[in-house]
Amino acid sequence: MDVGIGQQLLTGFAVALTPGNLFFAFLGVTLGTLIGVLPGIGPAGAIALLLPFTFGMEVTPAIILLAGVYYGGMYGGSTTSILVNIPGEVASVVTTFDGYQMARRGRAGPALAIAAIGSFVAGTFSVIALSLVAPPVALAALSFGPPEYFSLALLGLFAAAYLSGRSILKGVTMVILGLMLSAVGVDIITGGTRFTFGLIELSGGVDVVPVLMGLFGVSEIMFTLEKPLRMEVLQTRFKLRDLWPSGEDFRASAAPIGRGSVLGFMIGILPGAGAMVSSFLSYALEKKLSKHPEKFGTGAIEGVAGPESANNAATGGAMIPLLVLGVPYSVITAIMLSALITHGVPPSPTLMTRAPEFFWGVVASMYIGNAMCLILNLPLVGMWAQLLLIPYSRLAPLILLFSVIGVYGANSRVFDLWLMIMAGVLGYLLRKAGYSPAPLVLALVLGRIMENALRQSLLISQGSPLIFIERPISAALFLMSLVILAIPAMRWLSRRSAPALQGMEE
């Protein structure tokens, strides 16, 4: 490891090991594990919920807290997947395939243990990789100008649109809606107001927090409450010796954990992908490489080890575009970008040199947080399993309570409550119609950055849009965006022409 990075990490540990930051790391991973265990609200909703409460904190403990919720949620999600066959959060969907089957065969303990151990190994790997990869990426990104930032943001939004569902047209619609919302308020460059319709509350723009709470909190609760939620928990009491996997389990899981760690970290860096995509890809990879692929879906431990490692490793990868480039590629990191901007620490390639104690403090806290997660999730898994017995009819009002307190408490405005309610209804209707709200949120957060980059680029080029393809990095990113748009179009055309070709052959 480079001596420079080593010294900076030591500085980071000095920051992370202060009592205050240790407390917030512990609080974050505990809340994250809790949120991950309980179905009904995922890490994105939880981070949105906590966001207004962090405004009164210093930036380092605030981000340590939010990051803890992020990767803590990945640990917790596996508990519900394995014990109840309901994913605690989206990235743990894959764990239901084999984890629940293992629990049905009386092997819930080893499934939970391997999920926790794999998550710890992968989480630690991803933080080490983050420490090593971030400095050279930051160096390369110093040459980025407005055209590169515009193209980078465009790539991220198109990738999010592509991966958000089965229709890219719906994904792009959501992106454009999010960008439209971001244009509301005072235009920074000219000082004029746009789309405020005379409402003074909109002059500062559409606040992200109420929209987030509505789209990910209220609408999620509505979706869950519209049908009866029956949860049959297979096991709630665990002895420590029952948890420990056998030698055979460790041998079978070692390679999937290694592969999941690398795959997850790489996928996490990519735009739009994130923990869910990495866990699905890991599952597909392990099934492909397995000598007994027919065992997948019936309780193969590799089907738990690989995906759970991948979804945790993705959290470290996702931090690179956020902290080093200042362009978040997922909803969760987009929310964290809001937090960073609110605290006056906008991320950029110079963040490591501008605020090294903050950057390395957060990285170091992720090492510590991963260790805390292992302790929380292994010997204390029985405690989390007990929480699954709480009926959702009791949880939902509590979540709504925290939502209204958080939304009102941020700016003391009833208008924000109405915004949250409207966003909640909109989010519910959008999901009913097959639209995913995730690209909308990403676009809302990135919108101002994109618009400023666009206008600055056109200013530099004196109005010529060719600037985006004349600069090599911008051109490459722009081309990748077009490829992402072209893939579904080509697939659709080939589907339509296939029957015609078949007719001709006959």
Partner: protein
């Protein structure tokens, strides 16, 4: 699903046209630089184009992508949804008049009882307990500003 796609695309097109109408009031140029109307005009045009494509596709494509969930929830589900949205709207209307404690207690009590009607007493007790804890945690410890309302 095709019908749903047609409707949502038509709504998207309407939104795009209204947006473009509003954006036309903003300047495209401001001196020697692009004005505040540039980005909205691009977005409105983009949304109109995407909505038209979606409408076209929904109208001519025989292969239909299935909806992820059932469209209309069961009766009990619709009652639950109405309770959630109705109680939140009522909360927004009265919170600054009645104050944090009263209105939050009413919200919690209503939701806990509406979602689990068989457990009214425990719902009331839980509502009172939670509101008290929330007041201590958020108002007294975290110094969050909340409306005092009629109880002062």
């Amino acid at each position: 699903m095709r019908r749903m796609d047609q409707i949502s695309s038509a709504v998207g097109l309407a939104v795009a046209l209204l947006y473009l109408l509003e954006a036309s009031k903003l300047p495209l140029w401001k001196g020697t630089t692009f004005g505040s109307g540039l980005f909205p005009t691009i977005l409105g045009t983009g949304l109109a184009a995407v909505s038209l494509l979606s409408l076209l596709r929904a109208s001519i494509d025989r292969t239909s992508i299935p909806l992820p969930e059932g469209l209309v929830p069961p009766r009990r589900g619709m009652v639950n949804l109405a309770c959630v949205i109705g109680s939140l709207a009522a909360y927004a209307l009265v919170v600054e008049l009645l104050g944090f404690m009263l209105s939050t207690f009413a919200l919690m009590a209503f939701l806990l009882i509406a979602l689990e009607p068989a457990k009214k007493r425990s719902g009331l007790v839980l509502a009172g307990t939670v509101v008290a804890i929330a007041y201590v945690l958020f108002v007294m410890l975290l110094k969050l500003q909340v409306p005092r309302g009629i109880i002062g």
